[in-house]
């Protein structure tokens, strides 16, 4: 009975797959083009070739291969610990140059770089193959899953819009039909997330073997990444199952409308009108599943607090939206007439 | 045998009556012989593209008129007595046709002598030269 919906998902995921393949292809191009730039290993190799550099190699008791480079002339001292598949730890101390900042902390993929200046000297600590937080993956996956959810939303409105005579004359109750269709779409949206994560993992794999971090905030990100697109999907279903036609326009307008509402909540509450606008927008935004998407909240210092405060409430709201909006769509579907 | 049966659903004559009349006529003309089997209701309905119940009604009518007989499980057959009476059936068909013509002649106001004159002339045309002529 859900054959049509499977075909819709197949078509939608086909497009997503094409986009992801293009992204992977771009990553391949990037990989090839950066091959000649220095990786941390190449940098070390480069330093070891400097005139006046003294190199010594030892194997530590835990199996770590340690290389120590010393160049008294350039006041450079480097310790390179190769932990095998667990990555490499590099500590370089050299005179500060203009390229060095007071303090810097950069993560690119799994490579983590910390620079710190002590007087005229700067220490650069590089850790390769660090853990990659799933949070990053989920943020991207969420983006694609929300788009897929928006495209797939309104399966019932699609039937109302010209196919009810086929849909409702099958030997299955309306409720079971609708549950089947919504269930299939849920699978499709989750598949979109999984495909996106897989594609981006593949991209990263071109550069290194990432170790994924599923702990703490990352678990919360995965849960939110699953719940939010589904709640969003249910909301769009509820919004469109009322319509005999033009569901497509509504699917396009709702995200824009909610974005606008979201912006209105940021209006400074300087006068009565602004306060009113802000309050109305704030109330509307409470019904938007995207409002609750966050795995962190700003703390008093202004930076993000990843401790997970509020997360229980937020994820519950997403679950509630999924159930409530879904029920609304089903209720409306029961009353549809051809 | 179905080849001789045709119906005109657009005519005002009920389809079942058209079938009844054509079966009778086929017997009178010797197209249908004594004991010959008629197509099944289903087959004739499909051949003529008319409702099977309409064909069934025609067959019932023919049975009531003792034109055909139906043996359960074997089908419908032309009754021998009916074929023996076929000259009489031919007379009936001819009389019906003439009656229709005379009714029309009367309706348009021709009198007895005028009708007789016309009849003689038409009779001459159809029956003088060729003795084997058609009944119509």
């Amino acid at each position: 009975m859900t054959y049509i919906e499977w075909l819709r998902i197949r078509n939608c995921l086909k497009v997503l797959a094409i986009i992801l393949v293009v992204l992977v292809a771009l990553a391949v191009v990037l990989r090839v083009s950066v091959a000649r730039y220095m990786s941390p290993a190449q940098w070390v190799h480069h330093m070891s070739l400097d005139p006046g550099t003294h190199e010594s190699n030892v194997t530590l008791p835990d199996g770590t291969k340690r290389m120590v480079l010393d160049n008294p002339g350039e006041q450079m001292h480097a310790i390179i610990d190769d932990h095998g598949s667990a990555g490499t730890h590099i500590e370089v101390t050299e005179p500060s140059s203009r390229a060095h900042k007071e303090k810097d902390n950069v993560s690119v993929g799994s490579v983590h770089v910390v620079e710190s200046r002590h007087g005229t000297m700067t220490t650069t600590i590089i850790d390769t193959n660090g853990a990659v937080p799933m949070l990053y993956y989920m943020a991207i996956a969420d983006f694609f899953a929300l788009i897929v959810a928006t495209i797939l939303a309104a399966p019932l409105a699609r039937e109302i819009n010209g196919h009810l005579e086929l849909t409702l004359t099958k030997p299955i109750s309306r409720l079971r039909y609708a549950l089947g269709v919504l269930g299939v779409d849920v699978v499709g949206i989750l598949a979109a997330s999984v495909m996106t994560v897989a594609a981006f993992y593949l991209c990263q794999l071109l550069f290194e073997t990432p170790r994924l971090d599923f702990s703490g905030v990352n678990t919360r990100a995965i849960l939110m990444g699953i719940a939010c697109p589904l709640a969003w999907y249910a909301m769009l279903c509820a919004a469109t199952t009322w319509l005999p036609r033009a569901y497509g326009a509504l699917l396009g307008l709702i995200p824009l409308g909610l974005l606008f509402v979201g912006l209105l909540t940021l209006v400074p509450t300087s006068n009565v009108v602004a306060l009113f606008v802000h309050d109305v927008a704030w109330v509307i935004s409470r019904f938007d599943p995207l409002t609750y998407v966050s795995v962190a909240s700003p703390n008093s210092e202004g930076s993000m607090n990843y401790s997970g405060a509020n997360f229980g409430f937020r994820i519950s709201m997403e679950a509630l939206f999924f159930v409530a909006y879904g029920a609304l769509a089903l209720w409306r579907w029961q009353r549809v007439e051809a | 045998m179905p080849a001789v049966l045709t119906v005109d659903p657009r005519s005002g004559v009920p389809i079942y009556l058209q079938i009844v009349e054509q079966v009778k006529r086929s017997i009178a003309l010797g197209v249908l012989r004594a004991g010959e089997q008629l197509p099944t209701v289903k087959q004739l309905a499909i051949d003529l593209t008319v409702n099977p119940n309409t064909v069934a009604r025609a067959y019932r009518e023919l049975e009531r008129g003792a034109v055909i007989e139906t043996a359960t499980g074997r089908g419908s057959f032309v009754r021998t007595e009916e074929v023996e009476a076929s000259p009489r059936v031919a007379v009936e068909i001819g009389r019906d046709a003439l009656e229709l013509a005379l009714r029309e002649a009367k309706a348009v106001g021709l009198d007895r002598d005028e009708v007789r004159a016309i009849f003689e002339a038409v009779l001459e045309r159809w029956f003088s030269e060729l003795p084997k002529g058609d009944s119509q």
Partner: protein
């Protein structure tokens, strides 16, 4: 064995009744033709029968039982409008039916499609209106259903394919199944249907066996010598349902006893008495639009 019984069906949209106190019965192993002008309520009746629209009141029973989702294993439906998925191929529609209905015969569907001349690999978007009808019809007749509800099953088809649909309908009746169908091609209804109902503005205005309606309903025509003739109460006979007087000519639409009324007309001084047969189209026109019907009969006579 499958019969349909509709009792006092009423469907009101807003304040206008689309179907108003409609009752009809389709016995098993029969073909029922539903006739009516555009907007008479035929499609609404079908939609109510299939649960696509909720009746405002009344009852629809299949074998004395109300419709349930499981009933659709036995009921095949061809809707009036195109409801196929434009983005699917014909084959995918066949597959959809195969998955939805246990008794669906996909091989039979493909056979019917090729008989109708439909290319099964094509997308529906690329099909003409007639071919879309053919896809719906082919899938419906491959369902092995016991009840077929066909709303304009020949619309857009060429005459050869129209005749093919009629053969399929007759074949279903011969197998003992019930068919209820509507068509604006009255000639088709006349051929395939045993019983008809003519509906207008949601009400049944005439129903019965096609052959009986034809046998009973006649036009009796007579010509009087003077314009100021009197019908001697013939017009008040309950069997005379309509009187048309033009100059010296009178035409009576009678619902029974045509020969007797012809005799009475003759007795009251009319000459040129004729009893004219009516085909279903004439009967239909007299039922829904008497003025058009009279004009039609007159022109037909003039041209013959």
């Amino acid at each position: 064995m499958s019969s349909i019984k509709i009792s006092n069906l009423r469907k009101i949209y807003g304040s206008t009744p689309a179907v108003d106190d409609l009752s009809l019965e389709v016995p098993s192993a029969s073909v029922f033709g539903l006739l009516g002008p555009n907007g008479a309520g035929k499609t609404t009746t079908f939609k109510c029968m299939l649960g696509l629209a909720r009746p405002s009141s009344g009852e629809i029973l299949y074998d004395a039982k109300p419709l349930t989702p499981e009933s659709f294993e036995r009921i095949a439906y061809v809707p009036e409008r195109n409801v196929l998925y434009d983005w699917l191929t014909v084959d995918e529609h066949v597959e959809m039916n195969r998955r939805a209905f246990k008794a669906f015969d996909a091989a039979r569907a493909r056979e019917l499609l090729s008989q109708f001349g439909v290319d099964h690999r094509k997308r529906v978007a690329a099909l003409s209106k007639g071919m879309r009808t053919a896809v719906m019809v082919a899938c419906a007749f491959a369902r092995n259903a016991e009840i077929l509800v066909l709303d304009e099953p020949t619309s857009g088809l060429d005459p050869v394919n129209q005749r093919h649909v009629l053969s399929l309908i007759i074949n279903e009746a011969a197998k003992g199944n019930s068919v209820i169908f509507s068509s604006h091609q009255i000639g088709q209804v006349e051929r395939a249907a045993e019983t008809i109902a003519i509906i207008d503005r949601g009400k049944v205005i005439l129903s019965g066996l096609v052959d009986d309606l034809k046998a009973d309903r006649k036009i009796v025509e007579g010509i009087f010598p003077d314009v100021g003739f009197s019908l001697d109460g013939i017009a008040n006979d309950p069997r005379v349902s309509r009187v048309d007087r033009t100059e010296r000519i009178v035409r009576l639409l009678v619902t029974a006893g045509a020969d007797e009324i012809a005799g009475r007309l003759s007795a009251s001084g009319a000459t040129g008495i004729r009893v004219l047969d009516l085909n279903l189209e004439d009967i239909f026109l007299y039922a829904v639009s008497p003025v058009t019907a009279t004009t039609d009969i007159v022109t037909k006579e003039l041209s013959s």
